[in-house]
Every structure is written in C-alpha cells, then in structure tokens.
C-alpha cells in the first residue's frame, strides 16, 4: 500500500517536473501565451472564413442544408452576364479609384510636408473624410448626386454653366464615376497621412545636397522622394486596393448596385444574392472570387513591410 502511495507521488512529481521543464521552453510558453488570442482569431476569423469558402462550393439556400456541388457555382457565375459586368465594374472602380487616390494623396502629402502656419490643424482637417463614418459620407454623396436636389447641379446651374440637373446616378457611366469620386474623396487622407509619415523620415540633407547640385523640384521628387517612399507607397496602395476592391457600404447606400447593375461590385452582388435572394452558396462564391486578388495584395504588402524591417 505504502509502495503504491510512493509510486503515485513519484508519478505526480514526474508530471510536475515535465510540466515545469516544458514551461521553461520558450516555444511552449510562447504558444501558451498566444493561445487565447489564437482561439479568438480561430473562432471569429478562421471559422467564418473557412465556412465562406465551403459555402462557395455548395448549393446552400436559406433555411436548407446545401450539398457539395464542386465548381458549379463558379462555372455558372462565369456564364452570368450580371456577374461579368460586376467583374468589370469592380476592376474599373478599384483601378481608377486607387490610382487617383495615390496620385492625389502623394501630391497632398508633399504639400502638407512643407512648413506653413497652422499645418497641424490643416493635417487634422485632411483626415476628416477618413474619420467620418462611411455610411454618413455615403448619405452626403447620395444627396449631392440626387437627380432632383443635387447641390452640385444647383451651383453649376446658378453659375450658368449647365441648363439641366446632372443625371449623376441614372446614367451607367455617370454613376460609376460618381461612385469613384466619392471613394476617392474618402480614401485620399489614408494615402496622405500614411505617406506624410514616410516623407518626414527623409533626411533634409538629401534635399540640401540636391539643391547644391541645382536639381529641380521635379528631379528631387523623382530621384529622392519617390524612391524613398516607394516601400511605404506599396504598402499603402496594397491596403487601399484591398479596401476599395471589397467596398460595400458606399455603393450599397448610394445606388444599391443600380442602375441595372451598372455599379455592382463583388461585395454588393454577393450581399444581394446571399442575403436578399437567399442563395448563400452563390453569394459566397462571388465573395470567394475576390480572394486571389486580395491574397496578391496581402503578399505585396508583406513583402514591403518585411523589407522595411
């Protein structure tokens, strides 16, 4: 009996010893420390993500279990003219908006990097479009683009520049560019502030040296500023591309994808088919089409973030 008790005690000491040794191992300890956070990520990010991927391969409709249909959803979508129009819209929206945001953002960042009175206040004001909730700014644009009450049309008419209200959202191309303009307005501050931080890390000595060599402003920008902020620009552009590509709120509030699907992007079409139409499988498949593009963006930003390190 006594022997048995001592054996138990020995086993307990053994377990405790092994546990203690394991905890001294930094790898094990590190894993334990991040476990709660990992668990949260697993439940709230990984699970919905994997479920979304899976749904894209099923014919799940609301209220009913779906069955695996392989690539059927994707094949059908590729034959669907509304989806093809959505692909075009999404790429147009993303490419034009990101390009404009980048160019205007850099320009504004260079201007704000100069020394002038109340620059802190101006920099704070520049951030406003980014801070305002998307839904709120979308409603403002919705009013500005209204076919009857547009403030823009009203001003232009008062100035005698136009005779009739501009059909901002009723014409497919007008609607696309109106939405791009709204997105650009919202997104410029992200580029500006991000790049401003980069500009401030560039040593003034480089510009002084260039001045001594008689370099023009454009040369200084091209040979000094641009190369030095390129890694940051790549990261900012990648992030902006991700957000623009996956945009939903702005478009849903202003046009709901209309007129006649001319402004649908992946996010809005996916929501329309999955939530309003009840076809979860197809809606998920539309979202999954975004995945390769977004992965490329993430890889680009990773590459440049690492280079920064």
């Amino acid at each position: 009996m006594a022997g048995t008790a001592s054996e138990v005690a020995a086993v307990q000491v053994g377990i405790r010893g092994r546990l203690s040794r394991a905890l001294e191992n930094p790898t094990v300890l590190g894993l334990l420390f991040v476990a709660p956070a990992e668990l949260v990520l697993l439940i709230f990010l990984a699970y919905p993500f994997i479920l979304g991927l899976w749904l894209g391969f099923t014919d799940t409709v609301v209220g009913r279990e779906g069955s695996f249909v392989g690539l059927e959803n994707y094949q059908e979508l590729l034959e669907d003219s509304a989806f093809r129009l959505t692909v075009f819209n999404t790429f147009l929206y993303t490419v034009v908006a990101v390009l404009l945001k980048a160019v205007l953002g850099i320009g504004l960042a260079v201007v704000l990097n100069r020394d002038f009175k109340a620059k802190g206040l101006v920099r704070a004001i520049v951030l406003l479009p980014w801070i305002v909730p998307t839904a709120l700014s979308a409603i403002c644009f919705w009013w500005l683009y209204d076919s009857t009450f547009s403030g823009i049309s009203w001003v232009l008419m008062r100035l005698g520049l136009i005779d009739n209200m501009i059909n901002f959202l009723g014409d497919p191309w007008n609607a696309r560019f109106s939405l791009i303009a709204a997105n650009v307005w919202r997104g410029i501050p992200f580029f500006t502030i991000g790049l401003l931080a980069g500009l401030q890390t560039i040593s003034p000595e480089l510009y002084e040296a260039a001045d001594l060599d008689g370099a023009s402003s454009w040369s200084k920008f091209r040979k000094i500023t641009l190369p030095l902020i390129t890694p940051l620009l790549a990261v900012v552009t990648a992030f902006s591309t991700i957000w623009t590509f996956a945009d939903f709120q702005l478009i849903w509030i202003i046009t709901k994808g209309g007129p006649a699907g001319a402004t649908h992007v992946f996010g809005t079409l996916s929501f329309q088919r999955a939530m309003a139409g009840g076809h979860f499988g197809e809606g998920a498949a539309i979202s999954n089409f975004m995945l390769p593009i977004l992965v490329v963006c993430v890889l680009i930003s990773f590459k440049y973030l690492r280079r920064d390190d």
């Binding site: 669907d80 683009y145 209204d146 059909n167 209309g258 009840g278």
Partner: protein, 453 residues
C-alpha cells in the same frame, strides 16, 4: 332568427376577446359581413403555455401610430394571458436577412413579421397555423385572394403564415396639373395614363417612377407595369415566360414614358427619391404608399390639398395587375411556446385589436381579411379609399408561377426592374434586355427545380 344569431355571436365575440364598448363599436363598423361570418365560427382551442415569453421581430413602423397601437394591443394580450412579449423593430429591408439567418440556425425570435416570399424560403421551419387562419378567415369574411396564395404552402395545402396585410401603393398625383392637361382625374386606362403623363411633362410637370434598385417602389411599379401588358416572368409551372410580345409591348410603353414623361434620373431612384421629388413639386405623378399624402399634410398643406390617389394603370389585360408589399407573420418551429405564439397572432387580428390598429395607421397598411374593408379609415377621407383595395387587386411576386426561393431571388436581383432600366436608361435593345432577364430567370428557377427534385 338571423338577427338573433347576429346578436348572439356579437356578444360571444366580445366575451371571448375580452372586449368592451370600443370593441363593439369596431365590430359594428365592419358591417353585415362581420356579423354574418361570426355566427358560424368559434376560435380554435389553444392552451397558452403558462408564463410564455414571446420574442417578436417586425419591421419598423412607417407611422408612429402603428407602433403605439401595436404595443397597446400587445399589452392587452399580455394582460389577458399573463405572458410577456418582447418586440424588436428592424428596418423593413433588414428583416429578411435576419429571419433567414434565424431559420438557418434554428434559434432566435418566435414570431417574425416578414415580407413577400419569406415563409416560402423555409416552409419546413415554420409552424402550421391552419387552425387560426381558418378561424380568422371564416370569421372575418374570408382572406383576400392573394393572401391565400401567400399563406398556403401548395405542397401541403396548409397555412404556414398569417398574412397581416401589406403597405399598399397607389398612383399619387397633383389634381390641378392633371386638370390642366384635360383630364378630370388621373386615368386608369394605360394608353390614357401614358398620354396624360406625356402632356404633364410638356406642361413642365414631369412624372417620376423608380427604375433604380428601389426595393418597394421600383419592384412594385415594374412588376405591375409588365403584368398590365400580359407579360410575366414565368408560367404557372415556373417555366420562363419573359420572352414574349407582351413583354416587348411593356418595354415599348415604358420607354415612351421614360423618354417623354419622366423626370431625368429615375433610373437611379431608390425608395425615398419619389417622395422627395413629389413633395418638392418637381414631379406631378408617382407610385407610392399613402405616406406622401401624410407628409404633405404635415409640412406642405397646399400640396396635400391638391394630392389625389388613383388605382395603378390597367393595361391591355383589362384588370388590375398590382404588386404591393405583403407582410406575412410566421412562427418558427423552434419556438418553445407554439400555442402562445398562435394565440397572440390570432388575438392581434381580432376586430378589437386589428380594427383600431388599421385605423391608427391611416391607410398605410391594407388588411388581409375582407371584413376590414369596411373600417371607417377607408372612407373617412375619400383620398384613403384607393388604398383599401390594394390587397384585393394584388397579384403575387413571381406571378403566375409558384411563390418560393426562385421568385424571391428574381425580385432580390431586380430582374424586372433592370429589364426596364436596361432598355430605357442603358439604351439596350428590347431583345438584349429580355435575353439578360431570361437568363437570370432560368438560373433562379433552375435552382428551385433542383431543390424540389
């Protein structure tokens, strides 16, 4: 004898629903229809679960008095049964996704007041409510035809929801302007309707009908217009029927309206646009609920005075082909209190509750039971009367095919609205626009067929 029966049933009714003098007054207002029906029917025996706590999800009221009366009626039920009801109000466009999610996971609210085809998306998740539907139908002069379509699941012949009615739409127009172009009232006959609209625009008073992704105004207008010419998305069996000469006629007529009568920008309109434009006197005619009239009464009395309502235009088919929102109330099988839930819905549609509720909404919602056509709200202001008949004149979403996931998908995808928008605003040929719509319809109904098989 008949008189005695009527008296007896009225007394029974008041006793059964705990009604007082007000109840008798409401009942009286229903006229002979109510008395006749009530003599023949007694409510189903439902033993309400003791201490039941019901969770109800419903759309946010369009008018404050709706909520006030709904909650007052709910409080009456709570008092009568000792149970509790928690009502969650949600923007009407958000009810469908939330209810769909609850149906999928089998948890959440007990009762949902949803929209259109919702119950037909997950019929097997819903409680059979045939007993209370039969009772209410018999007692209150029968259900409007379209309500039977929206309530009974064809496969089983059983009621899966209780249609509460629907926010109806009518043609809202400025009478003085219509008079200016030579019409006494807004014409109902389609060719005259279009002629009047064109003349109005020529006089500087364009009309406006949503052809953008306006969930209510756009869908209602586009479907009703298509049906008026005999066009339809599918046949009775769900086979595509959009590629027809009737659809082409409808497209041609809409293009005529769009080019020669509508204000620019209608292709971008969402639900609020026409209200704003009408109240700002930018348009002379539109399709809408009674909300425009009441908003005008509150803020623009001059506009209200000149605002009149008319039935939507009737095309070559020669009968009303209207589409309105439908509000079915359904109970999930996952409820722990099935009897309480059924009793609650039944109670809310009894004359003592439903009458004051409909009256309080001042015409925003047209009821689903025929007896309620006689409520004073429909005649106390003659401008309300058109809205009384919305349910009577209504066809169902996906007409003339079955109601279900496919019809819901076609509406959610704005297939009919976009059909018109593609032709009118994007300059697409009728053939091309129809081809796009047909592909979307085939796709939606193929899914349904596969599921059924």
């Amino acid at each position: 004898m008949e008189r005695e029966d009527s008296k007896l049933s009225r007394r029974d009714f008041i006793k059964a629903t705990g009604a007082g003098v007000a109840g008798a007054a409401v009942l009286g207002s229903l006229g002979p229809l109510a008395g006749k029906a009530m003599a023949q029917v007694s409510p189903p025996k439902l033993s309400v679960e003791k201490g039941a706590e019901l969770k109800v999800l419903r759309w946010s009221p369009f008018v404050g008095s709706d909520k006030e009366m709904w909650e007052k009626n709910t409080a009456k039920w709570e008092q009568a049964t000792g149970c509790k009801v928690t009502t969650e109000y949600l923007s009407w466009e958000d009810v469908r996704p939330k209810a769909a999610m609850e149906a999928s996971v089998g948890a959440g609210h007990d009762i949902v007041l949803g929209w259109h085809d919702d119950p037909f998306l997950y019929p097997d998740k819903l409680l059979d409510v045939t007993d209370i539907a039969d009772y209410l139908g018999k007692k209150y002069g029968g259900w409007e035809d379209v309500c039977v379509k929206y309530g009974v699941y064809p496969k089983t012949g059983r009621w899966i929801d209780i249609p509460m009615g629907g926010p109806g739409q009518a043609i809202c127009y400025r009478k003085s302007w219509v008079n200016e172009v030579g019409y006494d009232v807004m014409p109902v006959q389609m060719d005259k309707f279009i002629d009047c609209c064109k003349k109005l625009k020529a006089k500087g008073h364009p009309v406006g009908f949503a052809l953008g992704h306006a969930v209510g105004d756009g869908n209602n207008w586009a479907h009703g217009f298509l049906w008026a010419f005999g066009g339809k998305t599918v046949n009775k069996d769900g086979s595509p029927a959009i590629n027809s000469k009737e659809t082409r006629m409808a497209l041609e007529a809409m293009k005529d309206l769009y080019d020669n009568a509508m204000i620019p920008g209608c292709a971008s309109w969402l639900d609020p646009h026409n209200n704003k434009a009408f109240l700002a006197e930018e348009i002379s005619v539109t399709n809408n609920g009674i909300s425009i009239y009441y908003a005008a009464k509150e803020k623009f009395p001059k506009v209200a005075e000149d605002t009149y309502h008319q039935y939507p235009p009737q095309g070559p088919v020669g009968k009303p082909t209207e589409l309105h929102l439908m509000d079915p109330a359904f109970i999930f099988k996952h409820t722990r209190f099935p009897n309480a839930a059924k009793h609650y819905l039944m109670f809310m549609l009894e004359a003592d509750q439903c009458g004051p509720w409909i009256n309080a909404m001042r015409g925003y919602v047209t009821p689903s039971l025929k007896a309620y056509r006689n409520l004073p709200v429909w005649t106390e202001d003659p401008k309300h009367t058109v809205y009384r008949d919305c349910m009577k004149n209504m066809l169902w979403n996906g007409y003339e095919g079955p109601i279900g996931p496919a019809s819901a998908a076609v509406m959610a995808e704005y297939v009919v609205v976009d059909l018109f928008a593609n032709h009118c605003a994007r300059g697409m040929s009728a053939d091309k626009a129809i081809d796009i719509a047909e592909k979307a319809i085939v796709k939606a109904y193929k899914v349904k067929v596969k599921k059924a098989g």
